[in-house]
Amino acid sequence: MTAAAMVRRARPLLGTLVEVGLCEMPEPCAHSQAIAAAFAEIARLQALMSRFDAGSDIARFNALPRGGSIVIDAATHEVLTFAQALSDASGGAFDISVGSAPQGWRLDAGRRLHKLADRARLDLGGIAKGYIVDRAVRTLRGHGCTAGWVNAGGDLRAFGAIEVPIVLRDEPHGGTRPFAQLADGAFATSHFGAETRSRCSPSGSAHVSVAAPLCVQADALTKVVALSGDTSHPLLARYGAQAWLH
């Protein structure tokens, strides 16, 4: 696939710049419709999962008293289910309550989310962006797109017959440098420093990058690697992922 036949669009979403790149499609208008649908899906999921949006599943949960429960969207349920699995598999290191009350929430067999502790506050900042990138890719494919990528400010997924060059951005100092070529998979980088909410285990400022088949895995696993400082963490192999500290 030659890069000359790419169409790229970007919009401010998910608190960052979200870029969609597509190989051109046979019908001239098809890519515009596909891109519009992908951005609409991203906006819909953001409204469900942002803790800043009062009507979101997450904000409604955070506002609940102990013992309360709400019915959540299937998409939020899917993210929380994966978050629970990662928490269990990482010995609680992956924690979407960000320390407020790791045991303070529970999903039941339906789509009901229960609050078990008053102080429990959920924050999907470490996982939802990757999930939403995956969903946007699904939307693009549903519109007949065969190859392209979605990049939400560093949470990236490439699909189809295209190799995407990745450059890393140096957060504290600015500037970029070439890092890798990615095909048919996902890549995420997180920066951990004095100003960030999660801390990297080796103290100081660091970037953690993870490549994985799905973006939700890459996104969430950067936190597991950062917290453990272990680029050979057993969870990586389970998801077919690789990690780098840099």
Partner: protein, 182 residues
């Protein structure tokens, strides 16, 4: 999943520019057409906000930055469909051009990023660095050349863009109230 590290890509590393990074997405005209596909004309308007309007904006907590703004008025058979305003914001290391489409009821219809420039760091604040991009990317913006690199790093904050959108919404509303933008 297939990932090849750059260290194994000697040619890529050697050919890579020091650290500048730029993407053109759309020209202002292309963005306007995308936002208002039914428009048969776009009228360029220069808007000058008077002192009283600037004070009103200030009272709303909006710094208009300038009294002079340019807008495109989307028209269909002579009737106004909405407005498109373009602007640029400077972040820590990036310069972002963007366009905001505003519907007749004053709400944001669509936001499109027009171009993104990542500097090595400090240069983003130097006029000479920014000047090199003036007038770039209008004709061929929809098709991108060989450089399709994706940036991965800490999440780029879009606070500057969201603040800019809020400012444009307020400026357009004020300009319409004062009759400067009919």
């Amino acid at each position: 999943m297939r990932i090849t590290l750059a260290s194994a890509l000697a040619a890529v590393s050697a050919a890579a520019p020091a650290s500048a990074f730029a993407v053109d997405y759309l020209s202002a005209e292309q963005a306007a057409k995308l936002m208002f596909p039914d428009a048969d004309a776009f009228e360029a308007r220069d808007v000058t906000l008077d002192a009283a309007t600037l004070q009103q904006l200030d009272a709303q907590g909006i710094k208009a930055r300038s009294a002079h703004w340019s807008a495109r008025v989307a028209k269909h058979a002579g009737a106004t469909l909405g407005f498109v305003v373009t602007d640029a914001v400077i972040g820590k290391v990036e310069l972002i051009d963007y366009a905001v489409g505003i519907a007749l009821d004053g709400s944001v219809k669509q936001i499109e990023i027009l171009s993104y420039r990542e500097s090595h760091g400090f240069e983003v604040r130097l006029p000479a660095w920014r000047k090199q991009f003036v007038g770039k990317g209008a004709a061929s913006a929809i098709k991108v050349g060989e450089d399709i690199a994706n940036i991965s790093g800490a999440t780029l904050s879009c606070t500057h863009v969201t603040d800019g959108v809020r400012r444009i919404v307020a400026v357009v509303a004020a300009a319409r109230r004062s009759g400067a933008l009919a």
